[in-house]
């Protein structure tokens, strides 16, 4: 009897755990989660959460005029560069120092670097690209 009760409790806990996960995933889908740009350089993070939940921007403020709905669509464009951003394209539309902080400042606020990219791969949050060498930090003889 006691054993059955324990089993039931375990099953309940497990289902709760998965339910929780599903809920988070759905929430992610609502705003698209984190986008990690890897071109032209590794790597830049765009947080949907920071822009929608935290600041309260609406989806249609950026989509689809400035950014396509398809994630990472932009980084195939040849003009997806800092030069172009400084001319108020892409992120620079808002990040011009007027609406929000300029793309000429606070570099490492969006640039997470190879380290940040590797960390996300290690955490399983993004799929590694071909040819990625994910090294363990602090090694080396």
């Amino acid at each position: 009897m006691k054993r059955i009760a324990l089993l039931l409790l375990a099953a309940l806990l497990v289902s709760l755990y998965f339910y929780g996960n599903v809920a988070v995933a759905e929430e992610d889908e609502e705003h698209g989660g984190d986008i990690i740009y890897t071109k032209p350089l590794k790597a830049v993070i765009f947080s949907h959460k920071a822009h929608t939940e935290d600041i309260g921007l609406e989806c249609d403020w950026c989509h689809e005029e400035t950014f396509e709905m398809e994630a990472l669509y932009m980084q195939e464009n040849t003009d997806f560069t800092m030069e172009s951003l400084c001319n108020e394209n892409y992120c620079g539309t808002c990040h011009n120092g007027d609406i929000s902080f300029s793309t000429t400042t606070q570099c490492a606020r969006c640039h997470i670097g190879v380290k940040g990219y590797n960390e996300l791969v290690r955490q399983g949050k993004i799929e590694p690209e071909e040819g990625d060498v994910i090294q363990v930090e602090g090694g080396g003889h």
């Binding site: 400042t105 490492a108 670097g113 380290k115």
Partner: protein, 266 residues
Amino acid sequence: MKLMNINLEKLIPESLDSVSPMERRSFLKMGLVITGVFAGGRIFSVVSNVNEAFASSTDFVEKYPYSPHYSMVIRQGLCIDCEQCLQACKETNSVPDYGYRTRILTKTVSDAIGRQREFIPILCNHCNDAPCTRACPTKATYKNEVNGVVMMNSKKCIGCKMCILACPYEARYYNAERRAIDKCNFCYDTRISKGEKLTACSYVCPTGARIFGDISDPENVVYSMVHQIEKQVWVLRPESGTKPNVFYMKATRSSPWDLRKQAGAR
């Protein structure tokens, strides 16, 4: 007991007026010029003395111990850890996977407003007073007499690893393929001696975080970046007294951005 005869009248007061121009100049040489730590070190942070130093400019410039006196300015805020420099360094200098000549460190300040992350490139500081060259038993590592680059003569290296311990910047590692300690030599053998103007890392750096040049040349961009009092310039671990030749400063992309082009980068 005999007391000294002191004539108070004749004593010279210890103020700046009483220091002869000659003495003052030699002091400045000691503090600023010979050290190679210009504005950055704790010895002389950017204070009024700088102007005085500028007054004797030509004499001052000549006093850098090397010519060309190679050095690098790291503009800390510009580094985005794209690691193109690490890649270029590995390819140019055949650095194995288990080692590195230069590295990028991450600093996170979680309670900062706005940007909370900072990437800090590190490399050999090519110190004027290099602890490694003193520690090496066989002179396998030495200062290049012309340009001050800390070099390796691999065939003399016995592999005792004394220099790794002596280095306060962790710039050295043992390279099994070379059978010697390996370290950054400002690409001396692979690029600079072949007529290139820049090291591989500063050549490929897309943001101008690494500016390489000759600090003894007033025409050089590095000279102008270090010889100013508008922005703070510092060196790593000044307390070790090594008189490093890699200078650090903060910068954003809005500050003179084209410096990297001026320095000759890609």
